[in-house]
Amino acid sequence: MKSLLIGQMSLKRKGVSHTRPEDLTKSRRRGQLAALSIAAVVIMVGVPLWWRTTETYRAWLPVSQINELANMQLQLSADVEVVFARGTVTPEQQKKVPLTQTQDEEHTVDGDLIFKAVCDPMVTKYEDCKLIHADLSLHTLSESPCGSLVVYVIPESSSLLPEDMDVYIGQRRTALLRIGAQMRVGRTVEQLLAHLEPRIKQVLQVMSFSHTDITAALSDRVRLSPGNKESIADSMRAFKSSPGYEITFSLLNPDPKSHRLHWDIEGAVQTYIQPLLTKLAPVANFSLDSQTLYYAMLGVNPRFDSSSSAYTLNSDSLAHVINPVEARLGSNAASSNPVLNFLLYVPDAHHSPLYIHDNKKQEVPSNAFHSPRWGGIMVYNVNGFYRPEAVLPVDININMAKVMGVFLAQLRLLLGVQSSTAPPGFLMAPCGSTGLADWELDRLMWSRSVENVATATTTITSLAQLLDQIGNIVINDNIAEQVSSAVTSLQLAVAELEAGNLGFALQYSKEAIMASERAFFDPSLLHLLYFPDDQKFAIYIPLFLPMCVPILLSLLKIVSEARQKRREKQAKKD
């Protein structure tokens, strides 16, 4: 032990006294090399590695296409065929009428259609019947695809239309237009066309789309200042475009002790509501259910009106009726689709009959009211069905035709099939057995397509903007896929709208909106990674500072030594 210690001490002394200058430079060089190589490794390998591992995964998005979408212009085109009946154009003029498109020549000028054949003395008592026959027979002649119209121009002397009406709009996609009186004597083809064009445009505005419709449908994208009260009311009333809706029919019986109500809801839905929903199948899916609620009261007390010896609800109190009832209506927990509620309220025996009065204290014939974006309520009085001395409870069968007539009208309004008042001189056919005329369906499809395209565009552009702004949201592959498919569908939908293929346009726009919603509302796109800058520093400094300080100091030392050497060399040269 002792010898070792002595040996070490002697070595130490030797070490101190025996360092040569070459050893010093060698060790210094070794130190410099070490510092430089560590710095190199840190910069070349460490920094990129740290960058890559703390990067968030962001799949590629078609940003340029999305920006294009934001600035695109929609173009809608509707095909209109105009057919001239015999007696409207002379044979020489027939040859001169220009055919801008050369398809379907048979249905244009050469086809002389005879309308007088339909004047059937047997049914002269019904004016509309004549027109309906004309309409239906014409429809079978030319089955127009959805989105297009056929306008038949009939001579002024024709007795098909009543005296003061100039235009008749049929159930299918046809319209009859009567030529004005001034077009009878000495007119040229150009004059005739000039006369007809604005009138055909007016028909087109009623049957297909008008400026106000399209601007209302675009309100999501282009927030325009409200035009007038009517357009606000219309835009607030109808439900927004959605891939599915749920319709619930509820029978409210507050007085089961007096009334035992029977309603054949399944049969009624099958007969009256289902045809309409089948016709609307391209627009949305519908799911139906029904329920009966007992002891469900209205939230307001009706007042007794002695003049009509009936109970009345005036329009001001109607607003407070819905809330207490709504708490008791259930809804399907599984889907997030908008719900339309249709309630049939049978007043209790002590408050029968119950009538709804409007602002002017007049009785409302339908005895029903509806709430925008919610549904409708109808009051059905049953006191007339039984005598006061009858044995309670009384069995009552509800007349479903009357009830469904009201609900169907409300359903049309809530879905956006506007029955806007017709311009003067227009005669509309009553809507057929399904409750929806073909051209009304077309109108709905136009506005839905435009609305879907607008909403999908807004969603995609705002998503792109959001992902751009917030740098640390992870964009998974499935989101990028949804966005790409949404962009493709949107472009296709716009192209189809331009070409006038309404069915395809609606389908593509629905696909676009579903893909864009799925991408926007993906649960993974949640940015919880907002760190203020001082917090970021607080995380990284304790990690990197202890490592970087020695490296930096040694690098500085190397630089200063190199500078010193250069100065010495220069001094030596001098």
Partner: protein
């Protein structure tokens, strides 16, 4: 002639629609909303934060009383005070001293409870980015016509609000969440109320339109609690929400009080802190916004003026065997045929056209078919392809005709004998 109509959008003028329906639209549509939602959040747990749960439940009670149904309220309570072991009166949460008002009634529906109340879930509810398995009651299904009330309470600081004692939400995140809601048009107007210390810092960073915000205290001030209850042993309510509840108890669904009255709730003399509000992002004048626009749910209603007459359809279905109906159909079809003939340059000989009605019942209706102003003759038997058809289909005329033919031949044969 085909007309191709071009409709180019983004035009700057609107065509004036001159239909006047002033009386129909009425004053109801001035606020622009059709439904109401409320998101009420209590962010703190532990028994000594009893007052935060009581705050939230008292706002919940007012909102329900004024009409918003449970399906439109998202209630998030971070802790359960009513069933807490330390609660001397279980199943109750009081908001007034001496246990005057129990805000935890029989019909409280809590959507997010306990540890489910996190910053992540709160932001997910606001932005709608919930997993597909989330039930309807836990979602905020608002649309562009919804007015939303958002009430937050808990412990907060300058620029943040503490959730659950372990995480916090910053004012920047909240502002971004509201902007995402605006981008997706998930609200029409939004009222944001916060009752925490330094609450005004939480609405400093808002930048989306149509937001109105109220806070119980300014930056640098603490929001104080109202009064302790000695029997329960904790402070029951915060001052701001206490006076807010008193103000709301006077509001009923038909009330016309507006937001300016709400700004006056709890002045400094009562609250010790200075309540603040922010209305620069709100597009309407706050004086025209009613309290019930946000706290209540007054529905707009319209009278249904039209009905669809479905009784005709029933008659149609029931009269399928009516002769009249049938004749009409035949006339229709014949007209179509005539039109086709004429279009194809063929002519139909109406003189030689006859009609016959097969069937057993004798009809005494005057049956007529008229095509092109010519009455078609009705016959009761007719020869067609060598067979004589009669209207009763008993073949007597055909047999007679055959007999006649054969009789001639037999007669000639008998002569040859």
């Amino acid at each position: 002639m085909k007309i191709l109509t071009f409709f180019s959008l983004f035009s700057t003028f609107l065509s004036a629609n001159s239909i006047n329906v002033e009386e129909n639209a009425g004053q109801f549509f001035s606020s622009g909303h059709t439904n109401n939602w409320a998101v009420l959040v209590c962010t703190s747990r532990f028994w000594f934060n009893y007052r935060h749960v009581a705050n939230t439940l008292s706002v919940y009670r007012s909102v329900k009383r004024l009409g918003i149904p449970d399906s439109h309220i998202v209630l998030m309570l971070a802790d359960d005070m009513a069933c807490n072991h330390r609660n001397p009166k279980p199943a109750t949460v009081f908001s007034h001293k001496n246990m005057e008002l129990n805000v935890y009634g029989d019909d409280v529906e809590v959507d997010y409870r306990g540890y489910e109340v996190t910053v992540e879930n709160f932001l997910r509810v606001l932005t709608g980015r919930l997993p597909p398995s989330t039930p309807r009651s836990k979602r905020l299904l608002s649309d562009d016509r919804s007015n939303i009330l958002i009430y937050l309470t808990g412990h907060g600081g300058n620029g943040f609000l503490k959730f659950q004692d372990s995480e916090e939400i910053s004012n920047v995140e909240l502002a971004d969440a509201f902007e995402q809601m605006w981008q997706k048009r998930r609200y029409n107007e939004l009222l944001f109320i916060i009752d925490t210390c330094q609450g005004a810092s939480m609405y400093e960073r808002f930048y989306s339109p149509n937001l109105m915000a109220l806070a119980s205290s300014q930056v640098g001030e603490d929001s104080l609690s109202h009064q302790p209850d000695l029997a329960i042993g904790v402070h029951l309510m915060d001052r701001y929400t206490f006076y807010l509840l008193e103000f709301l108890e006077d509001i009923h669904p038909a009330s016309k009080a507006n937001m300016k009255d709400l700004f006056k709730v709890c002045p400094k003399s009562q609250c010790v802190s200075t309540p603040g509000h922010r209305t620069d992002l709100f597009l309407r004048d706050p004086g025209s916004a009613l309290i019930t626009d946000f706290f209540g749910s007054v529905r707009k209603v319209e009278i249904t003026m039209e009905t669809i007459n479905l009784t005709d359809l029933i008659k149609e279905a029931e009269q399928k065997d009516n002769v009249q109906q049938m004749l009409e159909m035949v006339t229709n079809e014949m007209n179509i045929l005539k039109l086709w003939f004429d279009s194809n340059k063929l002519s139909l000989n109406l003189n030689k056209t006859k009609f016959m009605i097969f069937g057993n019942h004798t009809t005494n209706i005057d049956v007529k078919i008229v095509i092109d102003n010519k009455t078609i003759e009705r016959v009761y038997e007719s020869k067609f392809l060598g067979v004589v058809l009669d209207h009763k289909l008993c073949w007597k005329p055909h047999i007679k005709y055959l007999c006649m033919k054969m009789a001639r031949s037999i007669g000639i044969l008998s002569k040859t004998r």
